[in-house]
């Protein structure tokens, strides 16, 4: 027997403590961009420690399960990590959320199968520990399964393969309420009422089936603009599922790590909701698209447009420029051209900054990553609060593929569906260029009076192509 093995369960606990510490330090180092890469490595080290410690100190894992599963997961993980373009990061995070939830549910179900076999004839619901165990399994399965089906649906929605807001009866709030109550009822039933391993197991399988439907029903009605909220919330759920599985296995490391992830997702969800001036309940249940449709835009009057030839001299004469990117920039893959334009302007001595609205893009921080990919220094990127007061002293604002996040109706029209939403007050600048394909409305589906403003010039066209012409035009002057 090795000295390590002699340590037994105490040794494992110590290793897990070290691992939890590394996760916590990792998150702490993520508070600064400069230390962020180290942060990720520390967290990865914590994970390696936890896996290694379990294998060496507890390990009696069936070889085919371990090697097969780890090989399969690693290959898929590496491919995803290296192949996914930065524009598709929301889909990837959505997919990973689902994998996390499903893995936790599988562990809970597997442990239940093992547990009832270990002690045949055991009545799980007998005594407080039995009830605790059955409750923990039930919750873990419920959260895990909702996360799994909800995340996969979010993945299909984000990758544009599914646009519907109903799938037959799935998606109606009434059905969701029934499913939710049924799931909670089954969790309680399996915990306190059901007797015998097989009965409890079948109750738990029913939870999985209903929870999978519930996950679909919760995500189906949610529209494109609200996706950042849903992705953040599912991120949180995947952590909570791991945490619940920690209660199943009586493992503190799972509880701590899962809770850190859960807290992260909840905080991001809160930030996103605040940036849209809506409550979480409103995002999840109000069906915003239908509300907005009742306010159909009545067409635009007095819109002025500018060609690249007309826009270039205005830009060249400016001394300060703020670029305001949105999801359209990601779709057009225009981030590199944006950087080229900014570089050109800076060579002419014009100051360029970027204004990033919290819900620009399809997930928190999406624009920041895209601009970082194009080598834009991160200290040129400013939040809504940091930069909103500066627009009035700015010569030119270039809005690229953003719409609702700079809609003055949020401030000026109390009847607007987005009234009260904090927006970038780009219209306070001397001139605003809006690079956009057409006058079509954004994801909120509402009219944007910015396009009609005296100082707004619409730059119609594909963002990338337009910027290319603009850069060429500026170079020739």
């Amino acid at each position: 027997m090795t000295p390590l093995a002699l340590l037994g369960s105490t040794g494992v606990e110590l290793v897990y403590m070290g691992s939890a510490l590394l996760f916590i330090l990792g998150l702490k180092l993520l508070s600064r961009v400069k230390t962020a890469r180290t942060a990720n490595r520390w967290a990865a080290l914590g994970m390696a420690l936890a896996i290694g410690g379990t294998l060496f100190l507890v390990g009696r894992v069936e070889a085919w399960v371990l090697l097969g599963g780890a090989a399969l997961g690693s290959v898929v993980g590496v491919l995803l990590a290296l192949r996914t373009p930065m524009t598709s990061m929301p889909e990837m995070v959505g997919f990973l959320n689902g994998m996390g939830g499903a893995a936790s549910a599988c562990v809970a179900l597997g442990d239940l199968a093992n547990f009832s076999q270990d002690r045949p004839g055991l009545t799980l619901a007998s005594g407080p520990t039995g009830a605790e165990y059955a409750l923990a399994v039930g919750l873990s399965l419920l959260i895990g399964a909702v996360t799994f089906s909800g995340s996969l649906l979010a993945y299909f929605k984000l990758s544009g393969r599914l646009q519907r807001t109903r799938l037959g009866p799935i998606g109606s709030q009434a059905l969701n309420a029934v499913l939710g109550l049924a799931c909670l009822g089954l969790v309680a039933w399996a915990g306190f009422v059901a007797e015998g391993g097989d009965t409890i197991l079948s109750g738990h399988l029913a939870i999985v089936a209903l929870a999978l439907l519930l996950g679909l029903g919760l995500v189906v009605p949610i529209g494109g603009a609200d996706m950042p909220v849903v992705i953040s919330l599912l991120n949180s759920y995947s952590g909570m599922a791991a945490s619940a599985t920690g209660f199943v296995l009586q493992n503190n490391l799972l509880i701590v790590a899962g809770t850190l992830v859960g807290a992260s997702g909840i905080i991001l969800t809160k930030i996103m909701c605040k940036a849209m001036n809506r409550s979480l309940a409103n995002v999840l249940f109000a069906n915003f698209a239908e509300q907005a449709a009742s306010q159909k835009d009545t067409g635009y009057t007095g819109v002025k447009s500018a060609s690249p030839e007309e826009a270039a001299p205005v830009l060249a004469a400016a001394s300060s420029v703020i670029i305001c990117p949105g999801y359209g920039m990601a779709v057009a893959q225009a981030q590199h051209k944006v950087r080229e334009l900014a570089q050109l302007l800076e060579k002419k001595g014009i100051g360029v900054r970027y204004a990033i609205h919290p819900v620009a893009g399809r997930m928190p921080g999406h624009m920041n990553v895209l601009l970082a990919e194009a080598d834009v220094p991160y200290d040129r990127l400013f939040d809504l609060d940091q930069i909103n007061g500066d627009f009035q002293n700015t010569d030119v604002v270039i809005v690229i593929g953003a719409n609702d996040v700079c809609n003055p109706a949020a401030i000026e029209d109390p009847k607007s569906p987005i009234a009260g939403m904090p927006v970038l007050s780009v219209w306070e600048a001397r001139t605003v260029f809006v690079i956009k394909r057409s006058l079509a409305s954004g994801y909120a589906g509402i009219k944007n009076p910015l396009f009609e403003r005296e100082n707004t010039l619409m730059c119609f066209g594909d963002a990338k192509a337009y910027l290319e012409q603009l850069v060429a035009e500026l170079k020739s002057t």
């Binding site: 896996i51 599963g69 993980g77 995070v93 520990t129 992705i231 570089q343 997930m363 928190p364």
Partner: protein, 124 residues
């Protein structure tokens, strides 16, 4: 119900097995409570610029459930446990490997350049 009452409520045989242990639910609840507040404190300090890497990094951390999968797939357990263990290991591994790698890929883009090289470029 106070803690003392709950401990008393444990069946006698269990209390004999572990004379001074609380039920795991209670211990776990303590850990959960403290972890929630610690998590909120830590995450609130992450700047918005890093919110996407934060999400992919936390995807990787939620792969911690792989530890549970390793217990679940122990030798001698029934097939259902092992099949679940296999699925859980594979999926958790996607999160661990994919999550940490893609986060590193993103953070590398934030890191390679100095804070603002453009300001040092000649103004010509």
């Amino acid at each position: 119900m106070s803690l003392a009452l709950l401990v008393q409520a444990l069946p006698a045989d269990q209390a004999a097995d572990a004379p001074h242990t609380l039920s795991f639910l209670l211990v776990g609840a303590w850990v959960l409570l403290l972890a929630i507040f610690m998590g909120v404190e830590l995450i609130s300090k992450v700047p918005p610029t890093l919110h996407t890497p934060l999400m992919s990094g936390s995807n990787a951390i939620s792969g911690i459930t792989i530890v549970g999968a390793l217990y679940c797939a122990g030798t001698g357990y029934p097939l259902l446990g092992q099949v679940m263990g296999f699925c859980a290991i594979a999926m958790a591994m996607i999160n661990v490997v994919g999550g940490f790698l893609v986060t590193d890929r993103m953070l590398r883009m934030f890191g390679t350049k100095k804070p603002a090289p453009k300001t040092r470029e000649p103004g010509s």
